[in-house]
Amino acid sequence: MRILIVEDDKDVAGFVVKGLREAGHTVEHADNGRDGLFLAASENFDAIILDRMLPGGIDGLRLLETLRAQDNVTPVVFLSALSQVDDRVKGLKAGGDDYLTKPFAFAELLARVEALTRRGKTDGPTTKLCVGDLEIDLLSRGVKRAGQKIDLQPREFRLLEYLMRHAGQVVTRTMLLEGVWDYHFDPQTNVIDVHVSRLRQKIDKPFELPLLHTVRNAGYMLQTEDV
């Protein structure tokens, strides 16, 4: 994937660029708003990581608004130290697809960027999702593995659906809280782990090949190969 990062802090930018390259992405970096806008508008990217407060007269919000005004729909993840709820709302209203506050864990950023780029591709009217021999029907809300019917609670179904939509990608606990439960804060209790392990009991336990993997220090991933 081709990713643009617009970030003025050299250390943060260097760290993110390195991490993204290690994860197999092509990365361009701009350290101010004007260069960022120029790059974003003139070249094609799969995703943009955007700081809010930038030097060069154009801040992150302006940059994104300008971009969206030109009908550019590249997915954008805000990466900002502005952490209040209003800031988040402003960022999403300006056309941002996700909002991550600093300080952040790189695994979280990587997972969110990869999730975004995938979202853009599979948002068609799919009615069936498959990973290996596991398949779910979004219309009848039925789940089958190796032809065997599996009964899931409504919330478990939504959890599985979210994981399947992001199959092959790391999904963090925060992403699950936001995407499945619509919670925008982290409870102290390991609620997500418990729910995932319940789901695992139902979809993995009776079968030979595990599909739902735990990714250390990051989250979970649904895929046929081992992590």
Binding site: S83, Q84, D86, Y183, F185, P187, T189, V191, V194, N217
Partner: protein, 475 residues
């Protein structure tokens, strides 16, 4: 931005002052108020005096006119029945019986000679018949004033009927003088009243402005003095004082937080720093180094979480979140939370006894209530012994929603309960568990934002936390 503000301020004061001096008198609210008072007072006093004068004097005048008319028409009847002799008889009777001492009659023949009457001669100036005249007359050699009307009689005679109104004229003059004096006194009183109002106004404003000026200079202990009358100014003073109390409380909060940050964040920061330094000095294998760095990163994440919670509480206490308020039903939200935590409780062998009312109409911030309730459940789960029940109930009664979460853990002692909602406060018994000491502060802040309360009581054993929220906000 801060710099610009700091630079801007003195300039503002510098330009505002000369303007205040050059302000025209009418720009003073005190004088304007006083003028309005004087005008209203004067106009109403004038209206009162005028209506008094008009009704008294006018009534007297009309009474005299009616008496004269009646008299004349009675005499006319006499004339109609018996001609001039009957008329003369009637007049003579009236004069000799002295029915009305003020009555005036004069009958003259066509040549102008007096036939009968108590006037010596036809008054000068009375030229037209059937019209009212107020003229000086002479009665038995004494000068007076009379209201007169002449009636022509068939045959050329003329009858003059009237009333002596000297007493009434004098009464009118006395009334007029009295009213004029009263007007004068009213004007003086009005002016005095205006002056009193102005000075009252000024005094109140002075109290308020001197207090607020002192506060803007940084003396937050000052309060607007109250007169104790319970009047509007008192009310205003109270409102301002309430506002100042709130500001003081917020300032204290800020101070408290900065103190807490200094104390309570120093510990985890020290821990992270020690780990890193220790690793750089003593780690012998890359794996040791990696592990130490990972632990230090976790410590830092913990510090960030504390910061996040602090900022969130500050944001809530500042009331900034009111803009995100909306109307919604709390019941499904609480059921969602129940569903989220039920499995965790089961995992730990704890029974979650949930009972949520069917409908909990509410106006507020969805996310914050969510977070407050999950904080309480986090706590309950953290302190519950295995196989101890947790009860999670929500009821609505008298427009107050009560969300209760009670556990069977060690609870909080009586004196610690008072302080449990303070930032960073951790009861002695909780020191060994993980946590920042901010959970209950946040719950309390959320309850207050919604004009509600958080109460902590004993569950014998354990803790019972009750959030009371009004279904509707009262401003």
């Amino acid at each position: 931005m801060l710099h610009a503000e700091q630079r801007g301020q003195p300039e503002l004061i510098g330009t505002a002052r000369p303007k205040r001096r050059a302000r025209p008198i009418i720009r003073s609210a005190g004088i304007r108020l006083a003028l309005v008072y004087a005008t209203v007072f004067g106009v109403s006093a004038f209206a009162l005096a005028f209506s008094l004068w008009y009704s008294t004097v006018g009534l007297l005048q009309r009474q005299v006119e009616v008496a004269v008319r009646n008299d004349a028409s009675a005499l006319g009847d006499h004339f109609a029945i018996g001609g001039i002799p009957s008329l003369v008889m009637a007049i003579r009777n009236r004069l000799s019986n002295n029915i009305d001492g003020d009555a005036i009659y004069l009958l003259i023949d066509p040549l102008g000679n007096r036939v009968i009457g108590n006037l010596d001669r036809w008054p000068v100036g009375l030229t037209e018949a059937n019209a009212w005249y107020e003229l000086p007359v002479t009665r038995q050699g004494v000068g007076s004033i009379a209201l007169l009307r002449a009636y022509p009689i068939i045959g050329g005679d003329q009858l003059l009927v009237g009333r002596d109104v000297r007493a009434r004229t004098e009464l009118r003059r006395v009334l007029q003088d009295g009213l004029l004096w009263a007007m004068g006194i009213m004007a003086v009183l009005g002016l005095l009243g205006a002056l009193v109002i102005r000075s009252l106004f000024r005094r109140m404003i002075r109290d308020i402005s001197s207090t607020t000026r002192a506060i803007s200079r940084g003396d937050l202990t000052r309060r607007v003095p109250k007169t104790g009358d319970g009047d509007e100014f008192d009310e205003l003073a109270e409102i301002i004082n309430d506002m100042l109390d709130r500001i003081t409380k917020l300032m204290d909060g800020v101070r408290e937080v900065s103190n807490s940050i200094a104390h309570d964040l120093r510990t985890p920061i020290t821990r992270a720093r020690t780990r890193l330094e220790d690793a750089s000095l003593h780690a012998s294998t890359p794996d040791d180094l990696k592990a130490a760095i990972e632990r230090a990163t976790n410590d830092l994440d913990g510090i960030v979480a504390v910061f996040q919670a602090l900022l969130r509480i500050a944001e809530i206490e500042a009331g900034a979140r009111r803009s995100a308020f909306s109307s919604f039903d709390l019941a499904p939200l609480l059921l969602d939370i129940d569903e989220l935590y039920r499995v965790v409780a089961e995992e730990r062998g704890i029974k979650l006894l949930t009972s949520i009312a069917g409908m909990l109409p509410f106006f507020g911030d969805r996310q914050l209530v969510q977070q407050a309730v999950t904080n309480l459940l986090d706590n309950a789960l953290k302190f519950s012994p295995a196989d101890g029940d947790i009860s999670f109930t929500a009821t609505v009664e008298n427009a107050v929603i009560e969300i209760t979460i009670a556990d069977r853990g060690s609870g909080i002692s009586e004196e610690d309960r008072q302080r449990a909602t303070e930032r960073f406060f951790r009861a002695e018994s909780a020191r060994s568990t993980a946590g920042s000491g901010l959970g209950l502060s946040l719950v309390s802040a959320v309850a207050q934002l919604h004009n509600g309360t958080l109460r902590l009581t004993d569950n014998n054993p354990g803790l019972r936390a009750i959030i009371s929220l009004p279904t509707r906000q009262v401003d």
